[in-house]
Symmetry: C2
DNA sequence: ACCTGAACACCGTTCAAGT
DNA sequence: ACCTGAACACCGTTCAAGT
């Protein structure tokens, strides 16, 4: 029960910071799956030191994203489309990050939710998405029967597309996806993509 | 210039077949990036034999997909939506395959186009997509100003989503995406996802 | 309290030697 | 013509030993 707050040693702090700087550079070049040995080498510390500070690769990614997430949550998104675009762009910071975040978000916040920065950030992202989806529904720009999951899927998919094919294609996917989620957009057809009729019109 | 057709040795053929069976099982379990040593071991051959038959991992994947592609091209898709769904489903056969195919398709058919089965198949897929996009435009179910690339992006994204989140979410993404590519669907707004007006109506 | 680096298990890829 | 398996370079992860 004694939560004795031990103050960290100064070399520990220095090494931690150096590791994050190195990880950012290495991940930017080689993606989220890049060599951790290379990260440690670049930071000028032994591999054991990296594992001491960050027991899992997930911890490295989480720590690396912390600052970016602060910035992300500090902005007031101008509607759902803006939020989707911003998150998709963020989730494509490193190659492989989209997959990383998608699985983390799906797991509802990763393995150990307590004290886990990445898990907490994912939860916050989910909350904000919920809110903006509700707003968009109220504003009539999102159909009532489109679940939040569909929007989250679009965000993840767009992030992956951004990694693979660049921001232009990702933006266009978002535009089309959201347009297709507007009230009435999925009324006629959507089955075979041929005959533009057949379902009874709404109201 | 002498294209002397040498007939392959029988043990060579047997090993090749065994390698493909093993690769299918291992890839199904661990994805496209799975251990090739494990594949060779499961096939009961030495690692060198694997590399003799398939110099690169891409060749393994290509050979593995050959039969599936024959089946894919044998079917007559019932419109663009059907084709997009079919391809997305196919491209999610193994984990990691979506990324594999996306980059191959983007490269216009991979490194060595001549005699490369995977490259040829990708080219065929591109052709068929072109044709169905043209048909959909003519039928009025796809807006004239939607480039084929947008449809291909949707196919790739849906395949990735299928790997990550399952077929339900992938299908819904396709439905929304295609609905958003219908004539007129992107007319009003699509900027901030808030005010449903502002652009001049069509015609 | 933190750091080091050897140690172990694994994988990709090549290539000399075999049959 | 094809197969084998040792060899090399690399990586993830742990842990005893240091300071």
């Amino acid at each position: 029960m004694s939560t004795t707050a031990r103050r960290p040693r100064s070399d520990g702090l220095r090494n931690r910071a150096a590791l994050l700087v190195a990880a950012d550079a290495v991940f930017a070049a080689d993606g989220t799956g890049a060599s951790l040995s290379a990260v440690a080498a670049r930071a000028g510390v032994a591999i054991g030191t990296l594992y001491k500070h960050f027991p899992t690769r997930r911890n490295v990614v989480g720590a690396l994203l912390a600052d970016r997430h602060d910035a992300l949550f500090a902005t007031r998104p101008d509607g759902l489309a803006d939020w989707v675009r911003t998150v998709a762009s963020h989730a494509a910071t490193y190659r492989g990050l989209a997959e990383f975040l998608a699985s983390d978000l799906a797991a509802g916040g990763g393995p150990d939710a307590a004290g886990d920065r990445l898990a907490a950030d994912c939860a916050r992202m989910a909350e904000r998405t919920d809110r903006l989806v509700a707003e968009a529904r109220a504003a009539g720009s999102l159909a009532e029967d489109v679940p939040v999951e569909d929007v989250v899927t679009l965000m993840n998919a767009a992030a992956w597309v951004r990694e693979q094919e660049g921001s232009v294609r990702a933006d266009r996917l978002i535009t089309a996806g959201l347009a297709g989620m507007r009230p009435g957009a999925r009324e006629w057809n959507s089955g075979d993509g041929r005959t533009p009729t057949r379902r009874e019109p709404r109201r």
